[in-house]
């Protein structure tokens, strides 16, 4: 693996000093930073759409009922550039997803991390609130 220059920290600092005036639709409009959520389930399907990809996860409740959660992730281009491919998460894969719940209360959330059975984390590339995730702002190889 060749040495990479990751401007993660630099860009984090950049963003901290002058937040870009925009991103296409705001986290705060749809999701609640005070409602973190973690689900464990199996992948139902993935929608590779702009501006946000979506991953659908079937989650079995304590009473046995299955609820299909929908998680917003980054635009597919970002995911592709991070190495995701169409078959990266086939239906049936068990995943753990952490994110922030929709304000509507529906089983919809913005995904922060997606963890596969082997422990690998695939960053969602979706919007996360400012100040959250800064702890993770260390250069990764």
């Amino acid at each position: 693996m060749k040495t990479r220059l990751y401007l993660l920290v630099a860009v984090a600092a950049l963003l901290a000093f002058h937040r870009p005036a925009l991103a296409h639709h705001s986290f705060a409009a749809e999701f609640d930073a005070n409602k973190p959520v973690t689900v464990n389930g199996t992948v139902n399907k993935m929608d590779w759409v702009n501006p946000h990809s979506w991953i659908y996860v079937d989650v079995k409740g304590a009473d046995g009922t299955v609820v299909t959660w929908r998680f917003e992730m980054g635009p597919p281009n970002a995911l592709l550039r991070m190495g995701w491919r169409k078959d990266s998460i086939p239906p049936g894969t068990e995943v753990k997803i952490e994110g922030y719940r929709a304000k509507s209360g529906q089983p919809v959330a913005n995904a922060k991390t997606v963890t596969l059975p082997d422990g690998r984390e695939l960053f969602s590339g979706g919007s996360t609130p400012p100040g959250l995730g800064e702890a993770a702002a260390v250069a990764k190889p």
């Binding site: 749809e30 169409k86 929709a102 304000k103």
Partner: protein, 262 residues
């Protein structure tokens, strides 16, 4: 500094003249070429047919111009089940046409024969197609790279091109199944594979041919062909047809919100 009339000056002059359309002069020959000798397709182009309404023979009707088929052999060779789906599409075209009704990106090859101009911007490694309709765009990579493996589908597909003599051959895959081929409900599946050929005839005309192959929908590959006409209007440029915005205004302009975005 190089001498004013040295080889560099002449090369620049030659390149400059090669991309200025010869308005009012004889249009035969004089195909503009780049420094590598390949035809230079740069410029603004548009079709002059009614293929956008229906690729096959069609009679005129209100708001529906007549036209002769651009399909080689006349008709599209649907598999029987697919032919039924096409008829169903046609009956519901006023609500279901993804480009005309929803203003989604029109896909390939439909983007070529929409009744709007498009601009080709040619460089050695990539030829960019910029369409006025919905500011659609696609990149035809001519650097020898293959279609990337494992990529999802795109509305405008993934295009890789190469030259065969004076013909640009473009191979298009990864086409989203939701696009239609025209307003008459002619359609395809996610197995569609298009091979398009652009052959300059003279400075202002390119012959465009596209072979469509889709074993889920058609019984065999079939081909369309039509001329592309260079738009030689003075200072011609691609403007904006922001179909989605106009449609949003029309549909939601007087509506009341019911909930927060999910």
């Amino acid at each position: 500094m190089t001498p004013k009339r040295g080889p560099r000056f002449k090369a620049v002059l030659a390149m400059f003249l090669s991309v200025i359309p010869a308005v009012g002069q004889a249009q035969t020959g004089n195909i503009p070429r780049g420094p590598d000798g390949k035809p230079d397709l740069s410029g603004v182009w548009q079709v002059l047919n009614s293929a956008a309404w229906d690729l096959q023979d069609h009679t005129g009707a209100l708001d529906f111009p007549p036209g002769q088929s651009v399909v080689e052999g006349g008709t599209i060779p649907y598999l029987p089940a697919a032919a039924a789906k096409q008829r169903d599409n046609f009956e519901h075209r006023e609500t279901d046409d993804p480009a005309e009704v929803t203003c989604y990106l029109p896909g390939v090859p439909r983007a070529t024969y929409m009744p709007f101009p498009f601009e080709i911007i040619q460089t050695p490694n990539v030829i960019v197609f910029s369409y006025e309709f919905a500011h659609a765009r696609r990149h035809v990579f001519t650097d020898g790279s293959p279609h990337p493996a494992g990529f999802p589908d795109f509305w405008m597909g993934d295009s890789r091109g190469r030259w065969e003599g004076d013909t640009l051959v473009v191979d298009v895959t990864n086409l989203d199944e939701r696009t239609w081929l025209d307003r008459a409900g002619n359609f395809h599946s996610d197995a569609l594979h298009v091979v398009a050929r652009y052959t300059p005839i003279d400075a202002s005309h390119v012959m465009y041919e596209a072979t469509l192959e889709d074993p889920k929908v058609f019984s065999r590959p079939w081909k369309i062909s039509m001329p592309l006409y260079r738009r030689i209007d003075k200072n011609v440029k691609i403007l904006e047809y922001e179909c989605v915005y106009y449609l949003q205004d029309k549909r939601y302009g007087n509506a009341k919100p019911v909930g927060v975005p999910q």
